[in-house]
């Protein structure tokens, strides 16, 4: 994972649209030229969903899609509580208080490397930005493999866009309606063991719920994969000041917001 000396800014973004992808999933499009220029794949923004004291704290979302020429970016989120509920009810034209770009970001593969990405559910959010970024930089799509797993078919979003990228895609649904029946980590491990996924000259990336990342972390330790995983956590400050969002690693506790959110999967100790 990479870090660079970035200047964290506060900006007032303008909400352009709130699109419902299914009953729980939403896409928020925000106009903020400064952050669309600065955001890197893996970075996140910290925003205040309202001006009240309840909910009090800001919420963290990774950048999902960035269009520099239009000065916009998108966030993908699932309604899980009051904060995301309020966010889903925002209207175009409303202003939103943003703090970004926060955290480190994915490191990029060399042109001659292959990459394998694993996304579990909402974990597709930062990985889509990363994919688009790599393709824009003329990274050969034939060198990219994506494992994308969800619980149910209706959570399989962005399929048209992903298919158009001409990358290799493996799908998994837990109910078996599409693709492999089971968890994405089972499919990933199967492909790895049967050597259809090669370890040599390959960079691995993953994002998804913690149990999935724990599996990925275990696999990475066992087979010594260099896999970058993007973690999430409740983050009171988002900038490394409060030490409230730490994750256990082999080198002690690290702040997800500042030392991450992207970590080497062999380094973290997840329960």
């Amino acid at each position: 994972m990479r870090t660079k000396k970035i200047m964290i800014h506060k900006d007032e973004g303008l909400i352009l649209s709130v699109e419902s992808l299914n009953e729980k999933l939403f896409k928020l499009k925000i106009y903020s030229p400064v952050f669309s220029l600065m955001a890197m794949p893996g970075n996140f923004c910290h925003l205040k969903v309202n001006e009240e004291s309840f909910p009090l704290l800001r919420r963290a979302f990774s950048f999902h899609r960035v269009e520099k020429d239009k000065g916009t970016f998108e966030l993908l989120f699932k309604v899980v509580g009051l904060g995301t509920e309020l966010l889903s009810r925002k209207n175009p034209g409303e202003k939103i208080d943003l703090l970004a770009p926060l955290g480190n970001f994915f490191s990029f593969p060399r042109k001659d490397e292959k990459i394998v990405l694993s996304a579990g559910g909402m974990g597709i959010a930062p990985l889509l930005f990363f994919l688009n970024y790599l393709l824009e930089k003329k990274f050969n799509p034939e060198r990219i493999t994506l494992f994308f797993g969800v619980k149910k078919e209706k959570e399989l979003i962005l399929l048209d866009e992903l298919s158009a990228m001409r990358i290799k895609i493996h799908l998994a649904t837990e109910d078996g309606t599409i693709g492999f029946k089971g968890r994405i980590t089972e499919l990933f491990y199967q492909e790895l063991k049967e050597r259809r996924v090669k370890l040599k000259n390959t960079m691995f990336y993953a994002c998804g719920p913690t149990p999935m990342l724990k599996k990925i972390s275990d696999i990475s330790k066992k087979h010594n994969l260099y896999c970058q995983i993007s973690l999430e956590n409740h983050m009171p400050c988002g900038i490394g000041a409060c030490f409230g969002c730490v994750v256990k690693t082999i080198n002690g506790y690290k702040r997800v917001c500042k030392d991450g959110p992207v970590f080497d999967a062999r380094e973290v100790i997840l329960d």
């Binding site: 200047m7 964290i8 800014h9 506060k10 205040k48 004291s53 309840f54 909910p55 009090l56 704290l57 800001r58 208080d97 703090l99 956590n233 409740h234 009171p236 400050c237 988002g238 900038i239 490394g240 000041a241 409060c242 030490f243 409230g244 969002c245 730490v246 994750v247 256990k248 002690g252 506790y253 500042k258």
Partner: protein
């Protein structure tokens, strides 16, 4: 008319009464790209202990209605690394630097204070005798008058910096503790530290914090903090620094009226990193509009009858 926002603790002058609270502002540098740190009255560092501390396992924080719980466990780099790695940045600022000190024993407080003695860039010490999350230290000193007295007295005997005692609200009479630390030589008191609280994930039958209990902060605690500041202001002569849920200029003014001559912004920094500097501006504007010459003229001006 340009109102005079300056205030003082002992011989130390502050450009304005707005400080940022320990534990919410890291070692200062974290906020440096977002706000102009020199606009603050002062910066209070994370609690510094003698040895580095890893802190508690996650989860360490949890949001609650209009507030949050934390049990960080005094994570810090230890006094030696603080001096070497963190103080040089703070030293370059034109704002006042207050180092918050914590310990497990009176000896540890003294050892930390001795290491800090005479170091350039430090203006005052704030002694944390009120951390609710660490069993052996912090609150063990702040919850009983005798131990609070002993700790502050020992610190005073080993430092030439002015000393602020940070008090816990988790006591039967905070004003009594304030009185004894004043007697022990404290130059000011700051109150309140967080209130012991707890949140439960009932579906999984688990506490939301690994430490089970944590410290409650944010707007939810403001009425408690105001009452304690007011009560304490009736008893002590030394300056009171008020904190607890201050999010905006109006909140800050309420604390001044209750008897605090300075205030600290804690959880407010998380909600809006510009909160503290906005309050400095807001206080200035308020004084201009109301033709108040000195901010000090507002302190303790609550009309109770």
């Amino acid at each position: 008319m340009i109102p005079d926002l300056s205030v003082g603790i002992g011989k130390i002058k502050f450009s304005n009464p707005v400080l940022v609270a320990s534990g919410t502002f890291g070692y200062g540098e974290e906020y440096g790209s977002i706000i102009d740190l020199n606009k603050l009255g002062g910066i209070i560092t994370k609690s510094i202990t003698f040895n580095p501390r890893e802190g508690h396992p996650p989860p360490r924080t949890c949001e609650t209605p209009s507030g949050m719980l934390n049990a960080i466990g005094l994570t810090n780099v230890g006094v030696k690394r603080f001096i070497k790695e963190k103080l040089p940045f703070l030293r370059r600022l034109r704002t006042r630097i207050i180092v918050n000190v914590a310990g497990s024993t009176v000896e540890e407080y003294v050892e930390v204070v001795r290491k800090l003695e005479g170091k350039k860039g430090i203006d005052l010490l704030e002694i944390n005798i009120s951390c609710p999350n660490v069993k052996e230290g912090g609150i063990a000193f702040g919850s009983k008058p005798e131990s609070a007295y002993k700790c502050i007295k020992a610190v005073k005997e080993n430092t030439s910096f002015p000393v602020i005692a940070k008090l816990s609200p988790n006591v039967s009479d905070i004003a009594e503790i304030a009185l004894v630390v004043e007697e022990a030589g404290a130059d000011a008191v700051s109150l309140i530290n967080t209130l012991v609280g707890m949140a439960i994930d009932f579906e999984n039958k688990k506490p939301r914090l690994s430490n089970v209990t944590g410290g409650l902060s944010g707007p939810a605690v403001k009425p408690v903090a105001l009452a304690m500041v007011w009560k304490t202001a009736q008893k002590v002569k030394i300056p009171i620094i008020g904190l607890g849920g201050i999010m905006n200029t109006q909140d800050a003014l309420e604390f001044l009226l209750a008897g605090a001559s300075m205030i600290q912004i804690g959880t407010g920094n998380f909600v809006d990193p510009e909160c503290s500097v906005k309050i400095v501006e807001g206080l200035k504007k308020y004084c201009e509009e109301k033709r108040i010459k000195r901010i000090g003229n507002l302190v303790g001006k609550l009309k109770t009858k």
